[in-house]
């Protein structure tokens, strides 16, 4: 077997373009997922019964189905159901938002509920309304506990973008697939693709570890 560096060299521009798209989908998707997950997690922990039930149903629906099915639904089924055209990139980002949002909701809920009930009472006993206790006491403590599992979810979501190959988004895996189909250099291409993923996830892990260190976990 001859490992050809020039194959990788030639493929690099396309692979990097794919990696850029992977990062774009991940970042935008996770930003949306954070907002959605924070709201759903808050409802799960302290919301009124109806909102709690809605959030619960959402989380169970998403956790109970594969992300490939979710993105297929958004891309192929939604246009039929609702007469809206969605381009592959939007479908991919939506899928990450909705999928990561559900897992983040569980992380947020767990962290909020893990904060000692005594601290909530101490805040209330000072005469604070509950929302202020949430903002100034429970929130800051829960936030620190969210970081490690959140980092894990970020990495999972980044890798999940590779599944969007099924709707033809030109992210990293799709780029690798297309180049491979043209030159049949499986070893070089998939090695390069794997390493690019490793660099991305490694950078993310490292950044999170720095953040964790700088913040005292309570």
């Amino acid at each position: 077997m001859d490992f050809s560096w020039s194959v990788i060299w030639d493929a690099m521009p396309a692979l990097l373009a794919g990696a850029r798209l992977t990062i774009y989908i991940t970042v935008v998707g996770l930003l949306g997922g954070l907002v959605l997950g924070a709201v759903a997690g808050l409802f799960r922990a302290f919301g009124p019964a109806i909102l709690n039930a809605i959030a619960f149903a959402y989380v169970e629906l998403i956790r109970g189905t594969p992300i490939v099915v979710q993105v297929m639904f958004i891309y192929f089924a939604l246009p039929v159901l609702a007469q809206i055209r969605i381009d592959p990139l939007t479908a991919a980002i939506l899928a990450i938002i909705i999928n990561a949002g559900a897992y983040i909701a569980e992380i947020v809920r767990g962290a909020l509920l893990s904060v000692d009930k005594g601290l909530r009472e101490a805040g209330l006993a000072l005469g604070l309304p509950f929302w202020k206790v949430l903002v100034f006491v429970i929130g800051p403590i829960a936030f620190r506990r969210i970081i490690p599992p959140l980092g894990n979810q970020f990495i999972v979501s980044l890798k999940d973008t590779s599944l969007f190959i099924v709707i033809g988004v030109g992210e990293l895996t799709r780029q690798g697939q297309e180049i491979m189909a043209a030159n049949f250099r499986a070893v070089e291409i998939w090695t390069a693709v794997a390493i690019i993923y490793l660099i991305m996830t490694g950078t993310l892990s490292f950044a999170l570890r720095v953040l964790e260190k700088r913040m005292r976990i309570l």
Binding site: G118, E121, L126, G127, L128
Partner: protein
């Protein structure tokens, strides 16, 4: 100052406070004792509406714990509470813990709140621990910070729920001394404790609770030296 009128508290079918009547005047130092499960903590927590009552009414400074949210918040600002487990905010330093109430409840400007907090910390003997986090303080120090935190909101009455029970014996005295100084300063206090010596020396009134009712209510020294109630006598023998 505090009026219980046939206050009934239930958890499900269990009656925890059974039509309690109790009047506490400003300046009194009431010590609450009684066997475990008799309802001492519950009685205390009803006063600042951490527990809701199911029957009767409870007035604090003329306001009802069954009133609206803002009425309840006002009651809580007037009734400071100190917990057995301290419950200091772990993400804040001692100073920030003490300044927390004024800043977030009363809207006091930051500088002023911190300045007041520094004075209060000095009062409880912790001026040199201002920038320590709760995790870096001993139990006794944490409880003194917690007392300062409650005082910072300028309450009219202080509620203590076994403030020294979580402490090693050698750390209890420093907390009891702070409480004694507070009592001597004229603060109205209701203290759940097993510290009989403290009850005798600082208390102006001793209440012995039993099964959700006030069984004995009178002057501490008399009751402790000559308990007429046989169950109080037995209880005192156990805690001594």
């Amino acid at each position: 100052m505090i009026e219980f009128r046939k206050v009934t508290k239930r958890f499900g079918a269990n009656v925890i406070l059974d039509e309690v009547d109790l009047d506490i005047e400003a300046g009194e130092k009431v010590v609450l004792i009684g066997p475990s499960g008799s309802g001492k903590s519950t009685l205390l927590r009803c006063i600042n509406a951490l527990e809701t009552i199911q029957g009767g009414d409870l007035l604090v400074d003329g306001m009802s714990v069954r009133g609206g949210r803002s009425e309840v918040r006002t009651i809580r600002q007037e009734a400071g509470m100190v917990f057995q487990q301290f419950n200091l905010f772990p993400q804040l330093t001692a100073l920030q813990n003490v300044a927390f109430g004024p800043r977030r409840v009363r809207g006091t400007p930051k500088r002023e709140a911190l300045e007041q907090a520094r004075e209060l910390l000095a009062k409880v003997g912790l001026a040199n621990r201002a920038d320590h986090y709760p995790g870096e303080l001993s139990g006794g120090q944490q409880q003194r910070v917690a007392i300062a935190r409650a005082l910072a909101v300028r309450p009219k009455v202080m509620l203590f729920d076994e403030p020294t029970s979580a402490l090693d014996p050698e750390l209890r005295q420093e907390v009891l001394q702070v409480m004694q100084a507070l009592a001597e300063g004229g603060m109205t206090m209701i203290v759940v404790t097993h510290e009989i010596a403290f009850a005798r020396m600082v208390g102006t009134r001793l209440i012995f609770m039993e099964k959700g009712k006030i069984a004995v209510d009178g002057p501490p020294a008399e009751l402790i030296d000559n308990p007429a109630n046989p169950r109080l006598r037995e209880f005192l023998q156990h805690v001594h």
